[in-house]
Symmetry: C2
Subunit: 192 residues, 2 copies
């Protein structure tokens, strides 16, 4: 019964959400996170204020959603191409993350900043953005463990923190991670 | 002549600055970074608004100055006790940093967040806070290199990014770095 009533309600238009998200991403890229307000997103996308607040609690939530699909495009789980060594897979993953950061580092740094001021947002940022990328690296390293490509004595959670930390740290200090950093990370992780 | 004129001006009272900084630190610890305004610091410390703005451009600059001395107390360069191995020195340094973070992580995360929104502040945060601590770790690792405690093939800047990143990363995701993390970091850096 409850389900029927829900089904009878006005359906959410997925195109509207796509429009809002792409407008948000465009404005953020043009003007930066701080300069863009919900009001300017409303005015640019031509939707009603309530349409936005029905879906997203805060600007940070909306931006997270908008950036999320981009992140998936750049830094999704690698194909399990077993011809590729784990070292190559990790390198490929890092290069894709860094390409994404080259385009959207200002937005991502602003989201990390928002997460410091809002614990609820920190939780959703961690669950939707951080943890899935942590898992990708962890899976590559576990496979490397099982294939003997890294020593079983190595502690995987520490290596995962090294790998992500090694680009979060320069990024948040205003330094863009580059190809050389990706090479140095994999060399250090996979050295014998 | 210019110097004489300057010397004749009203001297800055160092006690006033100490009072403002300790009030700032106390308010930040009690209420958190976002909740404390320059107005509340003025009201609590009983100084004139202009006294504060003569010294500090923004709240972030004042907080950086206030936290700076604390940081020096916890995480300064290690004594060059040559009886201590580099591994022990690094462990000791990390434990002190983590103790400081246990007390002031909210303030430090808020400063890192401010650095994302204000490039000038990011520069001074990096110069005063980040770089000196990077240098401490770098010096320990260079000594380890020269003493053969780590292989000369290892790339020191990458290891420095691993070490700092390994606690920035959990910290900014709401996870307090602990003793176990310090042990895992040194074990990984100094493994043969």
């Amino acid at each position: 019964m409850a389900r029927e009533m829900k089904a009878a309600g006005r359906p959410r238009d997925p195109k509207t959400a796509e429009n809002i998200k792409s407008t948000t991403l465009r404005l953020m890229r043009e003007q930066g996170y701080a300069a863009v307000s919900i009001a300017s997103i409303i005015s640019e996308s031509g939707v009603a204020k309530q349409t936005i607040y029905n879906r997203w609690k805060t600007k940070a939530d909306l931006v997270l959603d908008a950036i999320f699909e981009e992140t998936e495009r750049y830094a999704s789980a690698p194909d399990h191409d077993f011809n590729k060594s784990c070292r190559e897979q990790l390198y490929q993953f890092l290069i894709e993350v860094f390409e994404h950061l080259e385009r959207d580092s200002r937005i991502i740094c602003a989201l990390i900043a928002s997460a410091q001021e809002d614990k609820l947002f920190q939780k959703s940022f961690r669950e939707r953005f951080v943890n899935p990328r942590e898992k990708i690296v962890e899976d590559i390293l576990r496979r490397a463990h099982s294939l003997g490509q890294i020593s079983t004595e190595r502690d995987i959670p520490t290596l995962v923190a090294f790998i992500h930390g090694a680009f979060w740290y320069p990024l948040l200090n205003g330094i863009q991670p580059d190809r050389k950093l990706a090479q140095n990370i994999v060399a250090e992780i996979f050295r014998h």
